[in-house]
């Protein structure tokens, strides 16, 4: 059942997947960099990233399933090395979603004035965004394994 031609649709899905991942990784690195350099007022950027993060994360999951659809029904079985990499990536994606919900709720619970934040909070935020970026890079490595073996 296809409403649009499969070729251009799959190309658009792949392009959006790359765009979403670039937003997720680039934004996490930007937030980490701002906190590392002790920027004067990082909270507006962190909140903007959280908005973008959830749009991009939803888009990445959507287009990730779309990428699977492009090779369906010939998706390798779970017992293969491809299947193992895909399963680990899926668990990684679920872990990213859970961990990032905790991160966003933490940012939402902060006072609006960055100057009111103690250094401990800023340090933990910096570690949180670094962990987000590293986790995403791990998912990217698995995506490379899945795409190219």
């Amino acid at each position: 059942m296809a409403l649009l031609p499969p070729g251009p649709t799959h190309l658009a899905v792949r392009w959006l997947h790359v765009l979403a991942m670039a937003t997720l990784v680039g934004g996490a690195l930007l937030c980490w960099g701002l906190l590392r350099r002790r920027a004067a007022d990082p909270l507006p950027v962190l909140r903007t990233y959280e908005w973008l993060f959830w749009g991009a994360a939803g888009l990445a999951v959507l287009t990730g399933v779309g990428n699977l659809g492009a090779i369906a029904p010939a998706i390798p079985r779970p017992a293969t090395s491809w299947g193992l990499a895909f399963s680990v990536k899926l668990v990684g994606v679920i872990g990213l979603l859970v961990g990032s919900t905790v991160r966003t709720m933490g940012v939402l619970d902060l006072p609006p004035d960055s100057n009111a934040l103690p250094q401990t909070v800023l340090d933990r935020l910096r570690i949180g965004y670094a962990a987000t970026a590293l986790w995403l890079l791990g998912i990217l490595v698995l995506a490379e394994v899945i795409a190219h073996g």
Binding site: E50, G66, G69, I94, M105, L110
Partner: protein, 180 residues
């Protein structure tokens, strides 16, 4: 710890976050279960990319609308320390049931159009019965899933407080607080 009233922007970001994570988790877990069971390839091939994108967009819209209604009605708010898990669960069950019916509806309409087109008016009693039973089952499943996701939200809030130490909240400009 003094709590600041959430601004409209904070509430919108909270709704956006909860809705997006709910839709993404449901799809990711569903894909994982189908893959483990061996039925993912056939299901995706049958669905098609464009229909799959529309279905995900619809699910995202449903989770956004139901979570907005739920979180706007939740007093004093999901992020407040005064909000209990029971209060969260009651609203999550109710709006989960609504979401379940909304997710079931377009799938049923698609089936009804196909069956009605082939069988004509004779299929009407069968379709009405299917709609009633299907809506009940969808509401029940939606309530269970919504309740689980609501409790997960409570866990996420508590985990975020454990991660970031409590900070004094000065009142936001233009907001009213209980503290002088």
């Amino acid at each position: 710890m003094a709590e600041a009233e959430p601004t409209a922007d904070d509430q919108s970001l909270l709704v956006w976050t909860v809705a997006s994570v709910n839709a993404a988790l449901l799809v990711a877990v569903g894909v994982g279960l189908l893959y483990a069971a061996g039925g993912l390839g056939d299901r995706l091939a049958g669905l098609g990319t464009s229909v799959g994108v529309l279905a995900y967009g619809y699910l995202w819209g449903v989770t956004w609308w139901t979570n907005r209604r739920w979180l706007d009605a939740l007093e004093p708010g999901l992020l407040s320390t005064d909000t209990t898990a029971v209060a969260v669960s009651v609203g999550a069950l109710r709006w989960g049931a609504v979401a379940g019916v909304l997710v079931f509806a377009p799938a049923f309409v698609a089936v009804a159009v196909l069956v009605g087109g082939n069988a004509g008016l004779g299929a009407l009693p069968f379709l009405a019965l299917g709609a009633g039973i299907g809506a009940l089952v969808a509401a029940g499943v939606g309530a269970i899933v919504g309740g689980i996701l609501g409790l997960l939200d409570v866990v996420f809030v508590r985990a975020s407080r454990a991660w970031l130490p409590p900070t004094e909240h000065p009142p936001r400009a233009g907001s009213e607080t209980d503290t002088p």
